[in-house]
């Protein structure tokens, strides 16, 4: 029954969403709030932000609000760019891992997006607007990622951030060697960190051979054209196609890792094979080899303070983000969790506590830095003219102890509005309680 009530309330909300979408074609003005732009304009008190056609049209102190604009009063509130979560498994239900092989570069997260996942809405309510949905860490080379905008209520295709570059998940250490998840009767290579290196090296040697094979075929084809011959094409291999594109710089590598030795290993293999690692994910010992990561040019997407849940997380320290940032690494704080994703703004605040990161830099770690890591920083991650109007409105400074997200917009459309959410709770709980409770129920 309650589920029905929920569906009903969702349907009731739809007209208002449609209206908002139409209004955003014109102009929306967010007025009176403190604008934390995370861009060159810094923080603007009592500022105005104008949105036109889903883009930020103007940001400033004394802007004229055009007549007929939809006005959102943010007086006393804080406006920041929508949060970008560089490591998520939201909206793919149980389709996280294709676990049966050590290399599964051919599988695509974009094929299994569950747009009805309620966590999309819950994360919007934590100010998140963009997520990097990654394959799991079951294999040394996992599947292809999907970057999503949390357009709750839309079809899977409409969630996909189409302009985001392609990406792929790698994984090192305990997870690909299956040390904590031994399936009875199933033993899979690799079973050690030595094997993880071999799997990756072999895969890229194969990919290079595959690339050569196709190049030779193309040459033969060009030569044959004149003679009228028909050379036989090599067999198409979806797995190697992806790795070939990766070698050609078309795919961003997001490598799950923990220990410093395996981080160095992947840098070595990548530099030898001729590809770049875009991000080290988790990278809990990144602080031990921060200079090497910085030299390679990779970003680091880490947990603020998770530790001790497994052997390779025993040397994890909450100062990791601060140390990596101090060596010039672009650092983001991710969730890897539907629950933690809803309070990433506070994960950022922890870097102020642990290692003295400035508040401005800390905010970048959940906005502009993850956007760069996903190759979408020209579009999202800060409130700048021309960028997508993805933003969250907080009741207080995002780091304050009693702060709360009041409203979340994606490209000018309101996807979360706490006031509306509260109003739409049409007391299904009371109905439920009346059945069991002797005196009318509680809440």
């Amino acid at each position: 029954m309650r589920r029905l009530a929920y569906v009903a309330s969702a349907v009731l909300l739809l007209p208002s969403l449609t209206l908002a979408a139409e209004a955003s074609k014109n102009v929306t003005a967010i007025v009176g709030g403190t604008l934390i732009t995370v861009g060159p304009q810094g923080t603007i008190e009592k500022g105005t932000l104008l949105i036109k056609d889903g883009k930020v049209a103007a940001v400033g102190k004394e802007l004229t609000v055009p007549a007929g604009a939809t006005v959102i009063d943010a007086g006393g509130r804080y406006v920041m760019p929508g949060i970008v979560d560089a490591h998520s498994h939201t909206a793919i239900e149980d389709n996280v891992n294709e676990c049966t092989d050590s290399v599964t570069a051919e599988v695509r997260i974009a094929d299994v997006i569950d747009h009805r996942d309620i966590n999309i809405y819950r994360e919007l309510a934590g100010g998140v607007t963009t997520i990097n949905v990654l394959h799991g860490s079951c294999n040394a080379i996992g599947g292809q990622n999907a970057v999503l905008k949390l357009r709750h209520g839309k079809e899977p295709e409409e969630l996909v951030f189409k302009e985001a570059p392609r990406g792929i998940k790698f994984a090192l250490g305990e997870n690909p060697k299956r040390s904590n998840f031994q399936v009875p009767g199933q033993k899979r290579y690799p079973g050690s960190r030595m094997g993880v290196e071999v799997v990756i090296r072999e895969a890229f040697l194969e990919a290079k051979a595959y690339r050569r094979e196709w190049e030779e075929y193309q040459k033969k084809l060009a030569a044959a054209g004149a003679k009228g011959e028909k050379p036989v094409a090599p067999r198409k291999d979806l797995r190697l196609e992806e790795l070939r594109d990766l070698l050609d710089g078309k795919v961003l590598v997001h490598a799950h890792c923990y220990r410093s030795d395996e981080i160095l290993m992947l840098i070595r293999v990548a530099e030898e094979m001729g590809f770049k690692i875009r991000t080290f994910q988790h990278v809990l010992e990144g602080y031990k080899v921060a200079s090497e990561i910085a030299r390679h040019g990779a970003g680091g997407s880490t947990f603020s303070d998770w530790w001790a849940y497994k052997m390779e997380a025993y040397d994890a320290i909450p100062y990791n983000a601060a140390i990596m940032a101090s060596k010039g690494i672009r650092v983001s704080l991710n969730s890897d969790s539907d629950e933690l994703a809803r309070r990433l703004y506070w994960e950022a605040a922890k870097t102020v506590k642990y290692g003295g990161v400035s508040e401005a830099e800390a905010l970048k770690m959940v906005t502009l830095n993850p956007a760069w890591q996903l190759g979408i920083d020209k579009r999202v991650g800060s409130l700048e003219v021309g960028k997508d109007a993805d933003l969250a409105i907080f009741s207080a400074h995002p780091f304050a102890a009693d702060t709360r997200v009041e409203m979340t917009l994606i490209e000018g459309t309101v996807y979360f509005d706490r006031a509306k959410d509260l109003a739409s709770r049409e007391k299904p709980v009371e109905k439920h309680d009346q059945k069991d409770a002797p005196k009318g129920g509680a809440q």
Partner: protein, 432 residues
């Protein structure tokens, strides 16, 4: 760098240790007593491990070590009312995990036997202001008995504040416990109704089992008492029954883990029928059961940072839970229900305060409230004269992530706030 100076803290700690008997005065600090009004600028005197004086116009005793508290806020030491601290070091390493015994019924398993005083997790929790925690066993139907530990000391005995605090029981849900080795089995083809029926059957069976155990324990306890007063021979030694007897008599509290509304209501009813002293742990849907929790005066140990139970639940159900319990007059403490994440306890309280719980109650729910629930409020949980000198000195609001803890005292002794983490930080921060 806002990091507190370790050398200063160490020096302070050394001074405190050598002059353990000399009183310590923290002067000019904002003092949040929790039990009474906050003193905006006051002095707090610690002597003999207790709080000797507290107030705006308290004189510093002669010979006291003086700590300048200006610009700082002093709080009672935080208490995490449900953890596995000391019972687990590294979650995935079996050799370092002592949270659960084999089998289903282990009332005689005692946390304080296995609490590891040298765990790296204890100083980490302490460095963020925690001075006490409930170390509790987990798993099975009857998990064992918990201990309230102080986060200082080099032996299990030295850690112990109170034992036993409670018997830990998982309210039977009737669902098979998660078994990784069976995860890849072919699923059995059953209808929803068949599954529900099976679940109910299992649940009833487990509840009967629990009721039988309690009845047996009561009889065992009675026989034991009778033998003590010279009436009949003592019963054959039976450690599980001996451990359960005070629970069955309603003397020792039972902390029952239950999250669903039906399970919480079930637990409250079961406890009332059996005459048990009940505390609910988990309590994800406690906000739906405030009527019975209030009526039967059942306190709840809540972990705030959780997803709602059902898709149709309000997105903030878990965040708003403490606020709703407070409004309804149900007693509760906010807990981490973890070990390595225990240090984030103040931020769970902060989340509750962002979603409806008054900030001062949020602070109370991680200090005085758990002390009351565990029956130790006469000793810890607030800053009052005569109480144990467990306190935290912070640079600001302890619920704010940006605040630094600069000092921790347990029983009047300054504790090091160096941790495995600060050591690794020092070791690697300047590596070229």
């Amino acid at each position: 760098m806002r990091l507190p100076s370790f050398t200063a803290v160490l020096a302070l700690s050394a001074a405190a240790l050598t002059a353990a008997e000399a009183p310590i005065a923290i002067r000019g600090a904002r003092i949040v007593t929790v039990s009474g009004p906050t003193i905006e600028k006051g002095t707090l005197v610690l002597a003999g491990g207790k709080i000797a004086a507290i107030g705006a116009d308290v004189a510093v005793p002669a010979g006291a070590t003086v700590i300048d508290g200006s610009g700082k806020t002093v709080y009672p030491g935080l208490i995490d009312g449900l953890t596995t601290l000391g019972l687990v070091e590294i979650g995935s390493v079996a050799g370092s995990v002592d949270t659960a015994e084999a089998g289903d019924v282990n009332p005689h398993a005692k946390a304080w036997v296995a609490v590891h005083a040298h765990s790296e997790l204890l100083p980490v929790a302490r460095a963020n202001g925690l001075t006490a925690a409930l170390a509790a066993p987990q798993g099975g139907l009857v998990s064992g008995q918990s201990a309230l530990i102080r986060l200082a000391g080099s032996t299990p005995d030295a850690l112990t504040v109170k034992t036993p605090v409670a018997m830990h029981v998982t309210y039977p849900t009737g669902r098979a416990p998660f078994d990784f080795s069976r995860m890849f089995d072919e699923p059995e083809l059953k209808t929803f109704e068949e599954r529900q029926k099976e679940r109910k059957k299992n649940q009833e069976k487990d509840l009967r089992r629990l009721a039988n155990l309690l009845a047996e324990a009561k009889a065992y306890g009675a026989a034991l008492e009778a033998a003590k007063s010279g009436k009949g021979a003592p019963p054959k030694p039976d450690l599980p029954m001996e451990a359960l007897a005070p629970v069955a008599r309603g003397e020792l509290a039972v902390i029952m883990r239950a999250d669903d509304e039906a399970d919480i209501r079930g637990a409250v009813k079961f406890a009332a029928d059996q005459g048990l002293k009940l505390v609910i742990a988990g309590g994800l849907e406690a906000w739906r059961c405030t009527d019975v929790l209030k009526e039967k005066a059942v306190p709840v140990l809540i972990n705030v940072d959780r997803l709602p139970r059902k898709e149709s639940d309000p997105y903030d159900a878990a965040y708003a839970n403490p606020g709703l319990l407070f409004k309804a007059g149900v007693r509760f403490a906010i807990v981490s229900d973890d070990a390595s994440q225990s240090r984030n306890l103040p931020y769970e309280a902060a989340m509750a305060s962002a979603y409806g719980l008054p900030a001062e109650i949020a602070l109370r729910s991680i200090t005085l409230s758990p002390a009351e629930i565990f029956g130790v409020a006469n000793r810890i949980g607030s800053l009052e004269v005569g109480k144990d000198a467990n306190l935290v000195i912070a640079t600001g609001d302890i619920l704010d992530h940006r605040t630094q803890v600069t000092g921790v005292f347990i029983d009047g002794v300054a504790q090091s706030i160096e941790t495995r983490h600060t050591r690794l930080y020092q070791q690697f921060k300047d590596r070229p």
